[in-house]
Symmetry: C2
Subunit: 360 residues, 2 copies
C-alpha cells in the first residue's frame, strides 16, 4: 500500500482522498488546523507544516504532494531532504509569486498581459505609468479568489492602491479586455507522459469561480495552442501531477493568466464528466501509475456553492445532477461545495445550469 502525504487538507484534499481510497492509497494530510474537510477521510492527519510530528509522518510517505499552493517553500525544501515531493518545489515557488510566474511565461514564449513589477511606492507609480490604465495591481504573493488585487482605472485609484494592498511587493498588469476566461487541466506522469483535458470555460462572480462549462466550445487550434502552452510549463518543471493553466481569450488568441501547481476548482467537472477525474489522475501521476484518459464523457458544468448550502432535495431532483459538499461550516464567500450537471447536448446543459441556479 503506497502512502501519499498531502500538504493542505481542504476540499481539494478531500476529493483527492475520495479518489485515493479506491486506488488503495494510504493518504496522510498535513493542515495548519484540525477539523479540515480532508481530515475525516484520511488515515492520518497532522497539523502544522513544520511541526516535527508532521515532518516525521511525511518522511515515511512514498511521495508528498500538495493541494494548496501557499505552503511555505522553505518547509517543502526541507521535506525534500527526506522524501520525494511532487510536483517539484520549483513549480510551487513560481506559482506562489506572480512576478516569477509572468517571467516564466515570458521565458517560455507563452503570451500573457503586459506587466511590470514594483517593490516600492516609487516603482509602483512607474509601473502604473508604464502599463497604463486600465490595469490591475496584484500582490506578488498570497492572492486568491480575487483577493490581493485591485483594478485601477485612474490616477486617483492608483494613489490609494499601494497602501490598500499592504505596501508590499506588487505586479501591475494590463487589464485585458478578454472575451472569455478558459483553463486547461494538464497532467504529466512520472515517466513523462502528458495528457490534457479539454479546455474549460469559466465564469467568475465577485472574483470567485462561479460556473465552469466543459468542454468549452473552441476550435481544435485553440485547444492545441492551450496544450502547447501547458506542455511547455510541464516540461520546464519536469512536472509530475496535475497543473492548471488559466487563460484569457482575447481576439481569438490565448493569454496566460496564472498557473496552479495542483488540482483546480475548474476541473471538478471531471469527477462525473471525464473518463478519469483530475483527482485520480493527479494521484496516478505522483505514485507512478499510468495516467487515465482525459476525454469528456458528455457536456458538463460545475456550479460552486458559495456562502450557503442550498436544500439538497431541490438540487437532487434535477436530472443528472451531482452534489459535492466539503464538510465546511457556512460563512459568507466561502466555497462550501459544488454541483455538477451532465447533459446530452449543450442546449440541455444550459437548461440544467439554469435549473441549478434557480434551486440555489
Amino acid at each position: 500500500m503506497m502512502k501519499v502525504g498531502v500538504l493542505g487538507a481542504g476540499q481539494l484534499g478531500r476529493m483527492l482522498a475520495l479518489a485515493g481510497h479506491p486506488l488503495g492509497l494510504d493518504l496522510v494530510f498535513v493542515d495548519p488546523a484540525p477539523g479540515s474537510p480532508a481530515g475525516a477521510l484520511a488515515s492520518q492527519s497532522v497539523h502544522g507544516y513544520d511541526d516535527p510530528r508532521a515532518v516525521a509522518a511525511l518522511s515515511t510517505c512514498d511521495v508528498v504532494t500538495y493541494e494548496f499552493e501557499n505552503v511555505p517553500e522553505k518547509a517543502v525544501r526541507q521535506l525534500e531532504q527526506s522524501v520525494r515531493v511532487m510536483p517539484s518545489v520549483e513549480a510551487l515557488a513560481v506559482a506562489q509569486d506572480r512576478l516569477r510566474e509572468k517571467t516564466t511565461f515570458h521565458e517560455l514564449g507563452i503570451p500573457s498581459a503586459r506587466f511590470a513589477a514594483a517593490q516600492t511606492v516609487g516603482e509602483f507609480d512607474a509601473a502604473v505609468k508604464q502599463i497604463g490604465f486600465p490595469c490591475v495591481a496584484k500582490t506578488r504573493r498570497l492572492g486568491y479568489d480575487g483577493k490581493g488585487q485591485m483594478v485601477l482605472r485612474s490616477g486617483r485609484e492608483a494613489a490609494a492602491a499601494w497602501k490598500a494592498l499592504g505596501s508590499t511587493a506588487l505586479i501591475v498588469e494590463q487589464l485585458v479586455p478578454f472575451e472569455r476566461e478558459l483553463s486547461i487541466i494538464a497532467v504529466r506522469g512520472r515517466y513523462g507522459v502528458t495528457r490534457f483535458y479539454p479546455l474549460v470555460q469559466n465564469e467568475h462572480r465577485n472574483g470567485i469561480l462561479h460556473i465552469s462549462r466543459a468542454p468549452a466550445a473552441v476550435t481544435p487550434q485553440l485547444q492545441a495552442t492551450a496544450e502547447d502552452y501547458a506542455r511547455r510549463l510541464l516540461e520546464r518543471f519536469t512536472y509530475v501531477g496535475v497543473l492548471t493553466l488559466e487563460l484569457f481569450q482575447v481576439d481569438g488568441a490565448l493569454l496566460a493568466n496564472e498557473i496552479a501547481p495542483r488540482v483546480h476548482n475548474s476541473g471538478h467537472w471531471t469527477i462525473e464528466g471525464a473518463v478519469t477525474s483530475q483527482f485520480e489522475n493527479h494521484l496516478r501521476a505522483v505514485v507512478g501509475l499510468p495516467l487515465g484518459e482525459t476525454t469528456a464523457l458528455c457536456p458538463s458544468a460545475m456550479i460552486n456553492l458559495i456562502g450557503e448550502i442550498p436544500e439538497a432535495s431541490r438540487l437532487l431532483e434535477l436530472p443528472d445532477t451531482h452534489l459535492h459538499l466539503y464538510g465546511k461550516a457556512a460563512r459568507p464567500g466561502r466555497k462550501l461545495g459544488h454541483v455538477t450537471v451532465r447533459a446530452p447536448d449543450a442546449q440541455r446543459l444550459e437548461a440544467s445550469i439554469a435549473a441549478v441556479i434557480a434551486a440555489l
Copy 2:
C-alpha cells in the same frame, strides 16, 4: 448534517462512505471487528452490534441501515425502539432465511424453482424425494458466495449432505438448468418512488460472482418482468433503500433465486456506469432525498478481484478502466476489490473484459 448509522463495515460500507461524504452525510459504522474496509472512511466506527456503545452511537443517528444481511434480527428489532431503521427489519428477516424468502416469492406470485423445507434428516430425505435430482440443498441461514449449499445428483450425494451442511434446517430446491444469471437492482425512496437499474448479467466462478455485464442484452419485456417482480417485493416490505433480486433466466422466463436487502456486488458497475450509483441511491433513499436516475451511461462490466491484488499499473493502462480496492488483506477466495470497464459498444466491452482478465 444528517447522521446515518450503518450495520456492517465491509466493502459495501466503504463504498457507501465514498458516496455519502459528497452528500454531506455523517456515517457511523458498526462492525464486529476493528480495521474494517469502511472504518477508515467513517466519522465514527464502533464494534459489536449489541455493545452498549454501539447502540448509544446509533441511537443518535437520523436513520440506521445495513450493508450486510447477517445482522442479528433481534439486535435490529431492539434498535428500532430508539431509531428509524431502513430498510425494514421484515425485509432483513426474510432475506436471512431461504425458506421465508422462497415463501415470500410464492405469496407474491414471483416464480422461483420448486422447493421443500427440512428440519430433520427424515424431512430432508422426503424433500429430496419430492424435488428430485438434480437438486440443491441449502442451509436456511448464513449461506453466501456458494457457501452452505451442495448440488445433489444422486442418492449417495444426498445421504452425505445432511451432515456435511451441519445437520441444520435446510431447503431443497430444484437445480434449474438456467441459460443465464441476471440481477436487478431496485430502489425505493421514503415517499414511495421506485427506480430500477437495467438488468445485469452475472457470471459466477466457484460460487463467487466473477463478472457482471450491464445492461444485460434482454428484451424490454424481460426488463419489465424483472421490474414487476422487484416492485412487488419493494411494496410488500414498504421498502426504503436498494434491494437486489437475483434471477435465473430459463426458457426465456425469469425465476427468482434470492434477494439482498442492500446494495450488491452485481451493482458495483453503477459507480461509473450509471447516472447515479447504487450506493448514492441507497443513501438518498434512506435519508429522504429524491432518487437519482438509474440509466446506464454506456455498456460496462465489473470484474471481481478475488484472493489476490494484481499489479495496478497493468490494469490502469487499459482504456476506461477503474480500480476499486477495499483495503483488505489478501486471502484465498476473499473479495479484495473490483475493476470496472466502460466501452462505447458491446464488442469493445468484451475486448476490455478480456484485457482485464489477461492482466489479472
